[in-house]
């Protein structure tokens, strides 16, 4: 969910999200169609993303204001975790 929300800071369709997530994780995470569809449905019903337009039958999504707030909080949480564990070997 985090990576999908992160990818949707810019408008994208399902396959575009998968490509973006694969790129930013250096190929470590490759999302499948079922996972992407489930996640988009959940994020949309929670009001964190919204459909923007449809290009060649491909529905485009983008993060909402609430989604940006949640994403920002999650980034702060990850930064804190990183700070706490930085010196841990």
């Amino acid at each position: 969910m985090f990576f999908i929300l992160f990818a949707l800071r810019e408008e994208k369709h399902g396959y575009g999200i998968m490509q973006d997530v694969e790129k930013i994780t250096s190929g470590r995470i490759k999302l499948g169609a079922g996972t992407v569809y489930q996640s988009l449905s959940k994020l949309e019903s929670d009001g964190l993303i919204q459909p923007t337009q449809e290009i060649e039958r491909k529905k485009q999504y983008q993060i909402t204001k609430i989604g940006e707030k949640i994403l920002s909080e999650e980034i702060d949480r990850i930064r804190e975790l990183f700070r706490i564990t930085e010196d841990f070997k």
Binding site: G14, Y15, K30, G32, A33, G34, T35, R57, K58
Partner: protein
């Protein structure tokens, strides 16, 4: 040698989605493939003899799909094989890495939970029917003829057996919810 092969009640035999997928994949590897899956394929499915294929099959369920459901799968190069009620069957040919549609545990569990819940509704319905029929039989047993009693017993036995089967399906999917 016959060029077709008929399988009966496949979704009733392979009740765990992953088992159904693996069964279809094994048949494809043996050169048995379906051209199209339709509403009645859960009862009767006809396979045609082809060259052995390495297909990854996906069993997905959605009671109400949004318009972009099919399109999302197609964007990922999945071939829509067909639909049985709210069950969608997809496949993709592969050579080395076996493709996945549900790529994290959360979405695998969600798919399995959706299948389990659909069966659970039928299970509850049949249990209620069985209980109601038993109660009705007990209350009106003195007024029923021997023929009516026999019919009632047969109906209760069928409803009871089917309830037990559905309960077993729910249990089996629950036990295998992580794959």
């Amino acid at each position: 040698m016959s060029h077709t092969r008929t399988e009966w009640f496949s979704t009733f035999r392979y009740v765990v989605p992953a088992d159904f997928e693996n069964w279809m994949e094994k048949l494809a590897a043996d050169g048995w493939n379906v051209d199209k899956i339709g509403q009645w394929s859960s009862i009767r499915m006809v396979f045609r003899k082809t060259e052995p294929k390495q297909y990854r099959y996906i069993f997905d369920i959605h009671t109400s799909t949004k318009r972009d459901y099919l399109e999302t799968y197609r964007q990922f190069d999945w071939e829509f094989v067909g639909q049985m009620a709210s069950c969608f069957i997809w496949r993709k040919e592969y050579t080395t890495v076996r493709p996945e549609s549900f790529t994290d545990l959360e979405s695998v569990e969600k798919r399995n939970r959706n299948v389990m819940n659909a069966v659970l509704v039928s299970f509850i319905l049949f249990v209620v029917i069985t209980i109601v029929m038993i109660a009705a039989a007990l209350l009106s047993s003195s007024r029923m003829s021997s023929e009516e009693t026999l019919q009632m017993i047969l109906f209760i036995a069928f409803a009871g057996l089917f309830s037990t089967y559905l309960g077993w399906v729910v249990w089996k999917i629950f036990r295998n919810r992580e794959r």
